[in-house]
Symmetry: C2
Subunit: 246 residues, 2 copies
DNA sequence: GCGTGCGAAATGTGATCACACAATGCCCGA
DNA sequence: TCGGGCATTGTGTGATCACATTTCGCACGC
């Protein structure tokens, strides 16, 4: 990828970084990978202790994540991992279906030989991983494929918004991964997208992506249980349990 | 407006609020109204002194604005009011043209009599203000009209993104105001939008907005000078002035 | 006696400040 | 024009304050 290093999923290299940046990245990673789950409360002190730093850098990092909508803030100021509801997921997907194809269209004129060389292996990696049943790796390949294109769109504002959306969707990854694996994987059109881009048909590639996002959304809505989706049986079981949490 | 108070342009009531919130709102207001201009550097200490608070709340507020893309951060960490380039403005407008009509479509089913009562005066206020040549008031009425609808879309994530975009566009307001005033005002289709919404044609209203945004963008691109748009004469005058700023 | 409520104390948590440290950039003088 | 010193600015720490929540215990009622 000729562009700068992926700013979304930074690798290690946490040596010389300011502590705030370190805290921010670690929290973001935890969010995206599902290490912390929806509903979890992140108190400044607790996180600071976990990271062995003082409250300030953590506070800044937490607020930054909140400003990016990756965390919610209780009225008291405590940060919580947002629970994605069915409506929230629908909204998120609808926005993605508008912005990400737009990024593909914008990127198309900027793509060239070096990009094909970088993108093609990612499609192959996805297929291989899915065939092997490793949904996490397949997802990672997909993600790298898409962001490889998005970064080429030369649209920093748009890229930032898309990253925000992915971050917000992060906590859902775990369940989606399970579901998708169980379902044998969603159709993925990245190979066709790449072909369209090679032929210079940016809008066609964008349309493929839009359809893919909408299909995937439909599939997830049909199979994944969301926060607040308690079944009748669960609601009944819930009644009369005064001491429950969450 | 039946919804909660406008969170984008808060009025006064800065008594019981945390200082960080106060600093945040005042900075945002300054940004949106053009009180601080693109390129201005906002040092934590300077702002803290201006607001008569210590550095901490200001620091948090500045970082929050930066996370929302309303401010840029120099590598050193100093916050600066972003300069909107021609390309940046084009990108911003393209995103708005996708998201804001979407919000209108989503809001349509939720609108009812109370909304018409609240929105109609805003259209009238716009017309009156424009007739009187008061572009600032006309803009404010437009803004309230649109956000009144957006808030009804029941899409918090989308609303947040749109607010971010407006915030980012804020520093440009001053020049746009001048230009638009000089040009006699852009066509505005809010009356027609309101009519379409009343008839339950949400998509039609959305389309009107999309066209309006695109027209306005075109007009602004054609008339407003952007950062980096130096004319030939200016570029010539620039040569050989080693000590220049900005 | 057992269950239920209410209230106060204890705890947790965020907000803010003043201070110390280090990196950055600027300005002045050679 | 180049170098060095100094002012500015961001980063991070620890203590302290006020507020919110939770928890525990006691008293009341069944």
């Amino acid at each position: 990828m000729p562009e700068a290093a992926n700013s979304f999923f930074p690798q290690d290299g946490e040596e010389g970084l300011p502590l705030e940046e370190m805290a921010y990245r670690r929290l973001r990673e935890a969010l995206v990978t599902g290490a912390i789950l929806p509903g979890d409360r992140l108190s400044i002190r607790a996180v600071a202790a976990a990271f062995s730093v003082s409250a300030m850098p953590v506070r800044t990092a937490l607020r930054r994540l909140a400003a990016e909508q990756a965390l919610d803030l209780l009225p008291s100021g405590t940060a919580v991992v947002p629970r994605l509801t069915r409506a929230g997921f629908t909204e998120l997907s609808a926005i993605r279906a508008k912005l990400e194809p737009m990024a593909v269209s914008l990127a198309a004129p900027h793509l060239g030989e070096p990009h094909w060389k970088a993108l093609a292996p990612l499609v192959a990696a996805h297929d291989a991983a899915r065939a092997a049943g490793d949904a996490a790796v397949a997802q990672a390949a997909d993600r790298d494929f898409l962001f490889g294109i998005y970064r080429s769109a030369q649209a920093p504002l748009l890229l930032g918004l898309i990253e925000t959306l992915w971050l917000r969707r992060g906590p859902l990854f775990r369940s989606v991964r399970i579901t998708v694996t169980a379902a044998g994987g969603l159709r993925h059109s990245h190979g066709a997208m790449l072909e369209a881009l090679r032929r210079g048909m940016g809008d066609e590639a964008a349309e493929l992506l839009r359809v893919e996002i909408e299909d995937a959304t439909r599939a997830i809505l049909a199979t994944v249980r969301f926060e607040g989706d308690d079944t009748a049986a669960e609601r009944l079981a819930w009644i009369g349990k005064p001491g429950r949490r969450r």
